[in-house]
Symmetry: C2
Subunit: 375 residues, 2 copies
């Protein structure tokens, strides 16, 4: 299959795989798709190590890097002198302590000092630039900005390096803003997607974005984990698809076993858009964590980004460890970002097989449609 | 285009048009699609008049009738001796009065006595049976149940008359239950649809329902108002599409001018799922009505169905009349059921042209997909 975006990026299938796990990125790129590594969890040094490994694995095939640069974040993240965690109000700390007690999570809550500061700043434009500088030293074929328009430095550096910039959007208005900011590829992401999403579904959003930004190519995201869904997305006018959730249950994914079990068991009704993990609405598995933050009377309500992200990541690290030990309360709390397609994920497979199955089912769906109109 | 469902129902295009307006139903059926008349607003006598008119218009071409039979409704609706409106608590009546005052709606609120009782009972199984009896005396090609499994009497009578029964579902579980109850066709409706919807998007829901109920044919609903979206739905495995919102801005639609103007101006961000019009979550235009019921501190919160439906219909009749007179507060309050595709609706067209454009764009989308795999 050859779309304009396949030609431009030198790939066989316009199937983009967003993953925080380098093994998934390598497997998809090597299967003829395009792997994109989520870089937000890495320091610039760690990212350099990951990309060096990737360069060795993919033999010159293209892959990309994704950074998280929200448009508006808590001002404290910009102040290099301040300790970010100092900005977390006492009642939010107390609520975490309350949750750990209520659910009997034995692993103690430790303060996240310097680590939190570093992580919080990575989601500022300045912080993201550090990651981008590292990324551009490697043979990457794409830089993606997962939230908010790409900062000007990012666009300038990517342009100089000849690397296209992709930007995720959830509304037509955002798509126009991303184009104005210099994005070369738009990822139109429907509300059913995992992670940060808007309100509008993929079926409704994609054609509107395609029409608004033409001739800029659009990838569809949200609700896509099979070849039929890929064909549907491309019938809507997308030049390719951007998938995240489907990789979480692959053999290669580093998803923790407790989370993987929950993902495999979940139905499409078991996700929720909640601000409880990052401070911005992000779709994730429903769990005691989302229910307590969003519904409990004693909940102080989530903070903004990046403070809620830091608070949640710190707590989830401990909850995850306790869940792995089999602590029932921790298993109730633990969750992860995932889209509504979670209901389709019921077995662990190699990422390569997922790619091949999607491409094969895509072909069948297109053939079936063709027969309808031929008669 | 010929799908199995086209053969079965004797239609040219598997495009189903749900409308409360007989002119839309006739226009779509006459253009080669399949019009379905929403019957909930009619008494059996009125329905008989409408269907007699339709029989004359469509010259033997098939059309259908849709009734609303929620699975669980307020017990008072079953008690034929009681006046339904007596079950509405004072604070709900007071809130309506407060809204009318706050928004300066001059038309007075009149009590809905016998009319409300009759309307409320029409959404019970017994009430729906009256409508079904009338419908089956006409040359209808389909009976649809818009909410909850079709009652056994409905299935029995339809079977005897050789008329297939379609049922709307928002989850895989509901689809299985509808099949068990005797449904012949499943309409899988995503969260982006107007009216009563669940949480799962069309992109995610349709393939799961198709797989769960095969070989029973599935129509896709929600997010479909163009040929690209129709092609996408059929790539997902649907045998046809079920559209409602797209007809609201057609020339034939009896949508009130104030509502039509709001629909034409709205973006896809301007809808909300709210219980404020029927007592069950239904997607509709955001307006002061939904904001007050769902957000205002003094809101008593919506009642169940059918009480909230009666309360809202009574108030909306008056709000609508005031909006037509140009009263600004009434214009803020007025709204209607519509899906996220409302953002695509920006001109008034004949329903026939909508059908032809969808079929033509469908063909283009399928051709474009075919070229991708041919190269």
């Amino acid at each position: 299959m050859r779309t304009a975006i396949c030609e431009r990026l030198g790939i066989e299938f316009p199937l983009f795989a967003f993953s925080h796990c380098r093994d998934v990125v390598a497997a998809v790129t090597n299967a003829g798709g395009f792997g994109v590594l989520g870089a937000v969890a890495y320091s610039p040094e760690q990212l350099d190590t990951e990309l060096t490994w990737l360069d060795e694995q993919v033999g010159g095939r293209p892959y990309g890097v994704d950074v998280l640069v929200p448009g508006t974040i808590d001002a404290s993240a910009h102040d290099r002198r301040a300790h970010l965690m100092d900005a977390v109000p006492d009642r939010h700390r107390d609520f975490i302590t309350h949750l750990m007690t209520k659910y009997g999570v034995s692993t103690p809550v430790r303060p996240m000092g310097a680590t939190a500061d570093e992580m919080g700043r990575r989601v500022t434009a300045a912080g993201a630039t550090g990651l981008i500088d590292v990324a551009l030293k490697h043979r990457i074929g794409l830089i993606a900005s997962a939230l908010g328009p790409p900062p000007p430095e990012m666009v300038t550096r990517a342009r100089e390096a000849g690397v296209p910039v992709a930007a995720l959007v959830g509304t037509v208005e955002h798509a126009r803003r991303q184009i104005a900011a210099g994005a070369d590829i738009i990822v139109a992401q429907g509300t059913e997607a995992g992670g940060h999403t808007g309100d509008v579904s993929t079926m409704v959003l994609v054609p509107q974005v395609v029409d608004a930004v033409a001739p800029v190519p659009v990838l569809a995201a949200g609700g896509i984990a099979s070849g039929r869904q890929m064909a549907a997305a491309m019938a809507l006018g997308a030049e390719g698809v951007w998938c995240g959730s489907v990789w979480l249950t692959t053999e290669e994914a580093e998803t923790s076993p407790a989370v993987k079990r929950k993902l495999l068991a979940a139905s499409s009704l078991d996700t929720v858009r909640s601000r409880s993990r990052t401070g911005k609405p992000a779709r994730q598995l429903k769990s005691a964590w989302t229910e307590e933050w969003d519904g409990a009377e004693e909940s102080p309500g989530p903070l903004g980004m990046p403070l809620q992200l830091l608070l949640a990541e710190g707590a989830m690290a401990r909850i995850g460890a306790a869940a792995e030990k089999g602590e029932p309360g921790a298993i109730e709390l633990v969750n992860y970002f995932v889209g509504q397609v979670v209901g389709q994920l019921d077995q662990v497979r190699p990422a390569r097989d997922v790619v091949y199955d999607m491409i094969s089912e895509f072909g069948e769906a297109v053939e079936r449609l063709g027969r309808l109109t031929a008669e």
